[in-house]
Amino acid sequence: MKPYNRPISASWWLSKSSYLLFMLRELTSIFVWAFLIYYLVQLSHLAKGTEKYTAFLERHASFGWILFAVLALVAALYHSITWFNLTPKVLVVRKGEEKIPPALIAGPHYAAWLAISAVIAWIVLRS
């Protein structure tokens, strides 16, 4: 007799909050991708000179573009934070029989992130 194969619903990811949060993490890549494209276009305008770049900035000062930038920032933060929180599962360091605490793995990642962000902020904002 033939075993019965249960179909998987297209909305399987809505059946559990953990699946939904996973899908949100996957979706953040769309925002990161879109922002990178935007950023490359922005750089190409910068290469064309001050006038073109200023015009580009003025064209993108509307509410919609600012909302896009905010959403991209939120998505990038969500992706980064959930990823750093998972690093202790990937990187297991042992001292004798004991694992070193997860915070000692995730902590340096956050510290490096903050330090690099601070350096970039200093470079960008010093002028």
């Binding site: 033939k2 249960r6 059946s15 953990s18 699946y19 998972l86 599962k89 042992r94």
Partner: protein
């Protein structure tokens, strides 16, 4: 005081009688110290002897009684009715597996996958018994012990959406067991496992949903094992590019 009761909505599939599964509702006495498996055993003994399901030890060791309880993979011997009271409690066969009958799933796919990762200690050459046992320090034991606690209950496969959508995926328990032997200081079989474990249908299919580790009743952390094998796989790839003469 009238005896309290709770309703169980049980998945029924009798391939000799019906083409499609149905749900059958049963009312069973509610007892605080009963688990879902006790309620199923009550049904089988007192109400409907045709109900089919697997179980054995009743103490979370054998791994036989895994089912979906209200949509979550659980060992039914460890799922207390009081956590679902006043109910109803929906009991279904483990998700992502073909159903043979009622609550019984077909595990052939997993059994083949498990065998493919050679989940035993592989030696290049066995040392003679006269030389004694393969010795191991407590630290070496601790290195893999967590991953050796797997009871093959299949809850991780039922929780994994990747396995549900891509049935060729090697899956959490098989990779966790491969990892367990790869980490064992007595084992020398990593190179024999890598074609399967580092292959396209294995570690790289995993998208790190992590639900396998959430539902594992033995805290094996298969999601962690898979990511750690990804690191090993990536290092192996780099080595094979930089030192092609030494990779095999």
């Amino acid at each position: 005081m009238a005896e309290r009761s709770i309703t169980l909505e049980v998945f029924r599939y009798r391939p000799d009688k019906e083409q499609e599964p149905t749900f059958q509702s049963y009312t069973v006495p509610y007892r605080e110290d009963w688990v879902v498996l006790d309620a199923l055993n009550y049904l089988k003994d007192q109400v409907d002897g045709s109900l089919s399901y697997r179980w054995s030890c009743r103490m979370g060791v054998c791994g036989s009684c895994g089912m979906m309880v209200n949509g979550t993979p659980r060992l039914t011997c460890a799922a207390f009715l009081k956590d679902y009271y006043p109910g109803p409690v929906r009991v279904e066969p483990l998700a992502n597996f073909p159903v043979e009958r009622d609550l019984i799933v077909n595990l052939d796919d997993f059994m083949q996958k498990l065998k493919s990762v050679k989940p035993w200690i592989v030696r290049d050459q066995e040392q003679p018994i006269s030389e004694g046992e393969y010795r191991q320090s407590p630290a070496e034991l601790a290195n893999y012990k967590q991953f050796s606690m797997c009871i093959n209950c299949m809850l991780c496969y039922a929780a994994c959406p990747v396995y549900g959508l891509e049935p060729e995926f090697l899956g959490p328990a098989a990779i966790a067991l491969a990892h367990r032997y790869n980490l064992d200081s007595r084992d020398q079989g990593q190179s024999l496992r890598k074609d399967v474990v580092f292959g396209h249908e294995a570690i790289w299919q995993c998208t790190f949903v992590s639900e396998c580790s959430v539902v594992c009743p033995k805290d094996v952390d298969p999601a962690g094992a898979i990511q750690q094998e990804k690191v090993a796989g990536a290092l192996d790839l780099v080595k094979s590019v930089l030192m092609p003469w030494g990779s095999r």
